[in-house]
């Protein structure tokens, strides 16, 4: 153990300079806006106050169809169909935006999309087995704190370890990584640097924090692919000065958890335990559970009032980043004093609101997408664009692999097929079908760049040509060919791929393109559809 830490230390690349502490990490001392406000109102008030201080007028609200596309992508994970777009535009319902949000939040598509997102967050590139659990949990809208507990401690009655505990089970062979993953995912704190030395950039995080957190998992172990936990075992580590230290339980906030001393087992007891575990391994049974569980204590302490602010802020910040395009704290794994939030009161208000409403993520998501801040246009007319963190103007967001794949699959689909009562089923089937090529695209992180692998694939791969730009049954291209004239085909393509009526300039360019291909019009349509589907507009959520 000790030698491993030393080796890790030599290789750690953290730059060795320090940044002084700035503002306090505790919930801000300034008075937060009324807890009774709606989420949207609180967001707009606090974002608006900072804009006013900066003397900035935010961009106007985005157009109806722009918002329809944005919201459908965020809540259902796909673009709206041509029909949905037309109907939304034509609807005179006074409250249609709110109705849209409610309808989407209640749809099975919301569940599927949310499962995709949570799976990407929780399982990263692991071959996931958490999807079944997530599907159950999101369908029931289980609270985030409950999900956290279930992923760390296990669901009651899940002796097979086939449910939420897979989160832990898939990481159990590397406790260091597990410790950091839990800190990053649930608390927004990346303490990997502190493994080797006190964090060079962040006063908040010392070696004690890393090993204090690791101690919660130190007694957990793998046996035959299952997770077990012992009731003894003390973690020791070496400081940079070479001093040997015992790591007691300590949460990220610095709260230490006293424990009564446990005697180490005798040689005989160890042998006995080993034999028992071997036997269980043979029988493919999980090890017995500990009557005193350290990892359960982590969940308890992490959800205690003061500490829970970490937990709540971390998920609020992630959801904000996903829906708005930039974390209130950026990057999202750097929630600490040296890296203050762009809008600390807003982060705290939203965290408090989440805690007071039972960690209901669906409510939080619905609240954010109902705000004017979410609904701003992404176009900034005048010369200097304000910094993204002011949220004066919407941020262009790359689609996630599943979002882009599902959107392409729908864009390429014959719109007539969706005029029947079973349209929802057909949409679902298309989205399902698109899963087969979601892995063509990279999961975007900060500083995401599209590579030439993607452009070459969509340009030249036989499979993409067959599945997205083909001219057969139930395809957009076939429907375009059936149009009476080029003008109506162009319009239809605009609705189907870009979910809006085309501007005159676009209509002119596309018509001209097709007129030049009168002798091979079917080819022309395929090329037009390709150009729309690979355009920036289709690739991003704007």
């Amino acid at each position: 153990m000790v030698s491993r830490v030393i080796i890790g230390c030599l290789l750690c690349t953290c730059a060795l300079f320090q940044v002084g502490p700035s503002r306090a990490q505790e919930l801000s001392t300034t008075v937060l806006p009324d807890p009774e406000l709606t989420i949207g109102a609180a967001i707009d008030q606090l974002i608006g106050e900072r804009l006013a201080r900066a003397g900035l007028e935010p961009a106007p609200l985005a157009g109806e169809l722009n918002l329809l596309r944005r919201t459908t992508l965020d809540l259902a994970g796909r673009i709206p169909t041509a029909r949905e777009a037309r109907e939304y535009l034509e609807s005179n319902a006074p409250d249609k935006r709110r109705e849209l949000i409610e309808q989407l939040l209640g749809s099975p598509e919301f569940v599927a999309h949310q499962v995709n997102l949570l799976d990407a967050l929780l399982m990263q590139s692991r071959r996931s087995s958490l999807r079944d659990y997530l599907e159950r949990a999101v369908t029931e809208n289980r609270s985030w704190d409950r999900m956290f507990r279930e992923m760390i401690v296990g669901e009651p009655g899940d002796g097979e370890q086939s449910g939420a505990i897979q989160f832990l089970r898939s990481r159990i062979s590397d406790i260091d990584r597990l410790t950091n993953d839990v800190s990053v995912i649930f608390f927004g704190v990346n303490i990997s640097c502190a493994q080797c030395h006190d964090h060079p950039l962040v006063h908040d995080w010392t070696q004690d924090h890393f090993f204090g957190m690791k101690a919660f998992f130190y007694r957990s172990f793998e046996n035959g692919g299952f997770v077990g936990e012992r009731e003894y075992g003390e973690l020791e580590y070496k400081t940079v000065a070479g001093e040997s230290r015992k790591a007691g339980l300590m949460f990220l906030s610095g709260s230490r958890l006293p424990e009564s001393e446990v005697a180490e087992p005798s040689e005989d007891q160890r042998k006995q335990e080993k034999a028992q575990l071997e036997e269980l391994k043979k029988q493919k049974q999980p090890p017995p559970t500990a009557s005193y569980s350290r990892k359960a204590r982590l969940v308890d302490v992490g959800l205690e009032s003061e500490n829970a602010t970490y937990f709540a802020r971390a998920i609020v910040n992630r959801i904000w980043q996903r829906l708005i395009g930039r974390g209130l704290v950026h990057p999202v794994d750097q929630l600490h004093r040296g890296n203050p939030a762009s809008h600390p009161e807003l982060l705290d208000w939203l965290a408090r609101d989440l805690m007071h409403h039972g960690y209901d993520l669906r409510r939080l998501i619905g609240g954010i997408v109902s705000s004017d801040t979410y609904a701003r246009s992404g176009i900034w007319e005048s010369a200097s664009r304000p910094p993204a963190e002011l949220h004066a103007v919407a941020i262009l967001r790359p689609l996630l692999p599943q979002q882009y794949a599902a959107s392409l699959a729908l864009a390429a689909f014959d719109p007539e097929q969706l005029n029947s009562p079973d349209a929802p089923k057909k949409i679902q089937a298309r989205v399902q079908f698109s899963r087969g090529f979601a892995d063509w695209f990279e999961l975007p992180g900060d500083e995401f760049q599209v590579g030439s692998e993607e452009s070459l694939l969509l340009s030249n791969s036989d499979r993409a040509a067959r599945e997205l730009f083909a001219d057969g049954n139930e395809t957009l291209v076939a429907r375009l060919r059936a149009c009476s004239d080029i003008a109506s085909a162009v319009d239809l393509a605009g609705w189907n791929v870009l979910n809006r009526p085309l501007a005159d300039a676009e209509r002119r360019i596309l018509t001209e393109y097709l007129q030049q291909r009168q002798d091979r019009l079917a080819e022309g349509y395929r090329q037009m559809v390709w150009a729309m589907m690979t355009s920036a507009e289709c690739r991003f959520n704007y």
């Binding site: 080796i7 890790g8 290789l11 750690c12 690349t13 953290c14 730059a15 060795l16 590397d174 990584r177 950091n180 993953d181 990053v184 990346n190 990997s192 950039l201 950026h330 990057p331 750097q334 890296n339 992404g378 900034w380 664009r385 262009l396 790359p398 990279e442 992180g445 900060d446 500083e447 995401f448 760049q449 599209v450 590579g451 030439s452 692998e453 993607e454 452009s455 070459l456 340009s459 030249n460 791969s461 036989d462 040509a465 501007a503 300039a505 676009e506 360019i509 393109y513 080819e523 395929r526 090329q527 390709w530 150009a531 729309m532 355009s535 920036a536 507009e537 690739r539 991003f540 704007y542």
Partner: protein, 422 residues
Amino acid sequence: MTGIRSISRRRFLGTGALGSAAALTTRGLEQVLAAEAHRQGKHVILLWLAGGASQLETWDPKPGRPTGGPFQAISTNVPGIQISELMPRMARHLQHTAIIRSLNTKDGDHGGASRLMHLGRRDEPTVKFPDLGAIIARELGRTDSQVPDYVSFYTATEGRGTSLGQSGFLGARYNAMSLTQEQLPANLRRLEQISEIDHRARGELRDTLSDQFMRGRESAAAASQREAYQRVPGLMASEKLFDPSGEPLSMRALYGETLFGQQTLVARRLVEAGVPFVKVSRAWWDSHGQNFETHLELVSELDQVLDALLTDLQQRGLLERTLVITLSEFGRTPAINASLGRDHFATVWSCSLSGCGILGGSVYGKSDDDGNDVAESPVAAGELFATIFQAMGIDHRKEYALGARPVPLTNPGSEPIKAVLA
């Protein structure tokens, strides 16, 4: 577009936000541009000897010692430097070559060691580091390049997960264009259903629509998408580079009619056309049994390929701008096991650097008499990488900003080996 302008577009108008701002504040614009111009037109060819080549049968023979095995050492064209008799042709190129005989990298597991020698540092749980090829692609590649930045011929044997190129946090823009057995990278060839003219026109239509959409918007990611599509015609045109049949038969024969030989010939074609980084893998060197037969075959092939490549590069005036590296994940044990094999050994082993930026005819570090330990000047992965960057005119201390965290090209404390640098 001239080189400098392409640089300034990329560095200062910001499709790649990483690192550039830092460069600007600490050094003057002119200095940055001068450094950039200096790096232009440089290349790296990495000959990756997957599975672990034996230092004793290549760069660090121990004839007459209990660990020496059956092969002798021969003199080279640089007085005082001897290499294995399995490399008689390479012995004529030592004036361009530095040998490092004291790599001590501590990891004897194929997976971990291979990652270590691709990344120049150990994996960290939460950081996806870019590998050597991706960093070279980013530092030496040009935004408006008509050719790939990073091409990797890997072999199925070496394992996709460990040795396949990784652009890490630099993003998909710097992913390797990877090839195994097939001759051509995927999706370079136009489908028959679309004519060349329409293919191009379709791309222009795409750009026009996107440009309209981007009015009043701003996004580095969208700029990178535009760039990715704009590179398509150039990348497709580079298809011919992958076909060695355009070379005279004598040239093909020089490299040898083996897959490794022909891929290395393609590597030369690629760098000549401006590709900054090409990796060619040869597997499988993992000679736990019959070490000497294996090395007789593989080293002889390597000897022919290296000879051909260095001669060819030199004749084309490319050697002074191209660094040729031979490297493995580790070396092999001096002890010879019961199957006449040598096992994994990371304690003291060798690699070679030839051409660009290298002090030819140099040997750095020393193993002890039987090759069991480093006798002088141990070299870690980070130092080797710092040396490679330095040879290419890249400051190894340069930092990328990963969120709030600055990540230098090599881990702090890894200094280049000045003794092998020109």
